[in-house]
Subunit: 203 residues, 2 copies
DNA sequence: CATAAAACATCAACCAGGTCAAATATTGAC
DNA sequence: GTCAATATTTGACCTGGTTGATGTTTTATG
C-alpha cells in the first residue's frame, strides 16, 4: 500500500502547461501534498502504531462508518464505500472476528443484518480521532483563527468550483469522508448525502 | 477501487471534538472533499474515458513517472512509488505489452534496465494533463489571481505545518505527485526529493 | 587475479481484497 | 399462494501486491 500514489502530472508536463500559469501549478502541487499528508500522517501512520491487530485502511474505514451510523446494513455500507455487497460482507466478517463490530439480524426485516460497533471498536475509532486532532490542532492554532477561516472559505470555494464542473457519479457521495455538515453545499449540486438519514442517532 | 474511501471521522465524533472548534472540523471536511475531488474527477474519471486499454490508477502512475523522468530504472521506480521491485517489474510488463513504455538494458551497467516512454505513452500522459488542466483552469480563473495566490499561500503554510509535526517515513517523498518545484519546502524539512536528480532531462 | 559480496531485475508461490454469479432467505405486491 | 424484488452470504476467480530464490553483472577485497 503506497502511502501516496503519485498519480499526477509528472515533470515533463512543465513543457505543455496548456496556458495556465503559476497559480494553476502551485494549486495542483500543494493540493496533492495536502492530500498525501491527510492520508499519510493522519491515517496510515495511525493504523500502524495503534491497531491491536492489523487493520487495513479499508477495514478501518468500514469500522468508522459503522461507528458513526448506528444500525447500518451491509448493503448500505457497500454503497457508501463504493464496493460490492460481497466485499462489504467479507470485510465485516473480519471486523466481527476481531470483536470490533457486531452483526444482528433486524427484527423488522429479517433479511437485513444490522451492524453496530462494539465498545472496543468504538474506543479504537475514538483514539483515532483524538490522535488526528492532536496532530492537527497545533497547525490550525498556529495559523490563527482569522486565517484558518479564510483558508476554509477558499477551500470551500475551490471545491464547489470543481464540483460544478463535473458530473456526479452514480455512487453515493462520501467526499467529506464522514465530516458531515447539515448545510452541505455538495448536496445542493449533487443530490443526496448518504450520511444524512441516520446520522446523529447516538450523539 | 472506491473513488473516495471515507477513512475519516464519522459522524459520532461530533460528540468528542477534543477541544477543537469550527475551523478544525471545517478544515478536515473540505480537506477531504478536495482530496476526493482531486482523485476522483481529475484522475479516475480520466482513466475510464480515455485509456485505450484499461489502465489502473497504479499503472498509469508508473507510466507518468516514466514519462517524466527519462531513463528511470525498475528499482528506482519501485522506490519512488513505495512498492517492491517485483511489483514494479510486473507493472512494467503490462505497460510494455500495451506498447506504452520501452525496456532497454543500460549500456553502462548491464544489470539495470532503463525505461522510456513510447510515443503513444507520452501522448496518453499529455492528454491526461490537458484534460486535467481544462477542468481546473476555469475554477482557478473564477477565483481570480489574487485569491488564488492567497489560497496557495495558505495551502503551503498548512502543509508545512503538518510536515513539521510528523516524522518522515523512510520511503522517498512523492507527496507532490510529480509537481516538482526547485525550491521545494518539503525538502528543507524532510531530506531529498526523489524527482530532483533526473528531472528536466527532456523539457 | 580470484573470489566474495552487493545490486538489479525477474520469477514463482502466495495472499488480500476486490469482482461477478449463484444460492438462500425474506418481504411485499398481486 | 405465487412471484418478483431485496438483503446477504458463499464460491470461483482476478489483480496487484508481497516475499524469497535465482541469474547476471558489478564492486570490493584479500
Amino acid at each position: 500500500m503506497p502511502a501516496h500514489d503519485g498519480l499526477s502530472s509528472a515533470a515533463e508536463t512543465g513543457a505543455t502547461p496548456v496556458k495556465t500559469g503559476e497559480g494553476f501549478y502551485c494549486f495542483l502541487r500543494y493540493g496533492h501534498i495536502l492530500s498525501s499528508l491527510l492520508r499519510e500522517f493522519l491515517e496510515s501512520s495511525f493504523l500502524e502504531q495503534f491497531c491491536p491487530r492489523r487493520l487495513t485502511r479499508s477495514q478501518f474505514c468500514f469500522l468508522k462508518l459503522i461507528a458513526g451510523n448506528s444500525e447500518l446494513q451491509v448493503g448500505e455500507l457497500a454503497r457508501c464505500l463504493g464496493v460490492s455487497p460481497a466485499a462489504s460482507s467479507k470485510n465485516i466478517d473480519r471486523l466481527e472476528r476481531l470483536g470490533l463490530v457486531v452483526r444482528e439480524t433486524s427484527s423488522e426485516d429479517r433479511r437485513a443484518t444490522l451492524l453496530t460497533v462494539s465498545p472496543e471498536g468504538r474506543r479504537l475509532v475514538e483514539d483515532f480521532e483524538r490522535l488526528k486532532a492532536s496532530q492537527l490542532a497545533p497547525v490550525i492554532e498556529e495559523l490563527g483563527e482569522e486565517r484558518t477561516e479564510e483558508f476554509c472559505d477558499l477551500l470551500r470555494e475551490v471545491c464547489l468550483g470543481l464540483l460544478e464542473r463535473t458530473t456526479a457519479p452514480d455512487a453515493p457521495c462520501m467526499r467529506c469522508a464522514g465530516y458531515y455538515s447539515p448545510d452541505c453545499s455538495v448536496v445542493e449540486l449533487h443530490g443526496e448525502c448518504s450520511l444524512k438519514p441516520r446520522r446523529g442517532v447516538e450523539a
